[in-house]
């Protein structure tokens, strides 16, 4: 068998059961899609087929699997979001009625959102910057999200939203420069690692901050 030597022994022994589980789950999901006629049921069952894909990719058991799972998850999320919007707009056109944007009650009326956000988001952002990379970006972005959601004022100037987009672009450049340097000059690996890590931190954090701004503009309109 053609297996690189850095794959642990136990993951090699788990490979066949994982692959079979993935195939069985995918088969069950596809049969469900075949026998259902309703669109929303098919959309829910697509989720199951996506899970089967995750097992098959994850069974590789190295960093490659992790690198392949992340874009798969994001693509699946975007796909479900787009198809559900298409279903809703088709039904609106058929029935001629427009539903409310958010059918669930969503009231941010919590004690923690009025007293603690400054301190909590400071700690989260500081810890995120210390971590760097994807995880740090997620932690710092969570801090920004908490801060933005807890503010009462609305109507952010357009310059700030554009500025967040610009930070995202600069982060991409940092990441690409770090990647290129890694291949051109491998002796500067530490520098390129930190370039890529801080680029990813800025990217993820600014994107989560942007989501928070958009959510507040959309849902706090009263």
């Amino acid at each position: 068998m053609l297996v690189p030597e850095f794959v642990p022994e136990i993951f090699c022994s788990l490979y066949l059961p994982a692959i079979y589980t993935g195939f069985i789950v995918g088969f069950i999901g596809l049969i469900g899609i075949a026998i259902n006629k309703s669109d929303i049921h098919v959309l829910i069952l697509t989720d199951i087929v996506g899970l089967a894909m995750l097992i098959v990719v994850g069974a590789v058991g190295t960093d490659l699997a992790e690198a392949l799972i992340l874009p798969g998850l994001v693509v699946e999320l975007a796909e479900i979001m787009a198809i559900s919007e298409i279903l809703i707009s088709r039904e609106i056109r058929k029935k001629g009625k427009t539903p409310s944007i958010l059918p669930m009650p969503l009231v941010f009326d919590m004690e923690i959102l009025s007293t603690a956000p400054n301190f909590l988001s400071l700690i989260l952002i500081g810890y995120g910057i210390f971590l760097t990379g994807f995880t740090g970006g997620a932690v710092a972005g969570g801090g920004i999200l908490l801060y933005i959601l807890s503010r009462k004022a609305r109507g952010l100037p357009i310059l700030v939203i554009d500025g967040l987009g610009a930070i995202s672009g600069i982060a991409w450049c940092l990441w690409i420069v770090g990647f290129l340097l890694f291949f051109v000059n491998p002796e500067f690996w530490l520098l390129s690692l930190f370039l890529a890590a801080s680029g990813l931190l800025l990217k993820v954090a600014s994107k989560m901050g942007l989501i928070g701004v958009l959510m507040r503009e959309e849902f706090k309109r009263q």
Binding site: P17, T21, G32, S84, A138
Partner: protein, 86 residues
């Protein structure tokens, strides 16, 4: 006492049983029940990813599965509000 295989095979069994319950389980004519049933295979996948030590994938998977079920529930309630046949 805690074998690694226990977590892996529990995850596999949960995933298979969960997907069966999503497709043929009781009360899945209601799309909300079907959406909630997809949480069982999600737990199974989380256990499998935990066995393989895929920390970042596990974090992202937990976040995206929550967002996906929120999107699906919102879609279902909006469709019911219009009066579409589900």
């Amino acid at each position: 006492m805690f074998e690694l295989n226990i977590w892996f095979y529990t995850g596999c069994i949960l995933t298979i049983i969960g997907s069966l319950s999503t497709v043929w389980g009781p009360g899945v004519k209601d799309p909300i029940v079907r959406t909630l049933n997809t949480e069982i295979p999600s737990i199974g996948i989380s256990l499998i990813l935990l066995t393989y030590n895929h920390m970042l994938a596990l974090l992202t998977f937990v976040a995206t599965s929550v967002i996906v079920s929120l999107i699906l529930l919102r879609t279902i309630t909006r469709l019911e509000e219009i009066g579409a046949e589900l």
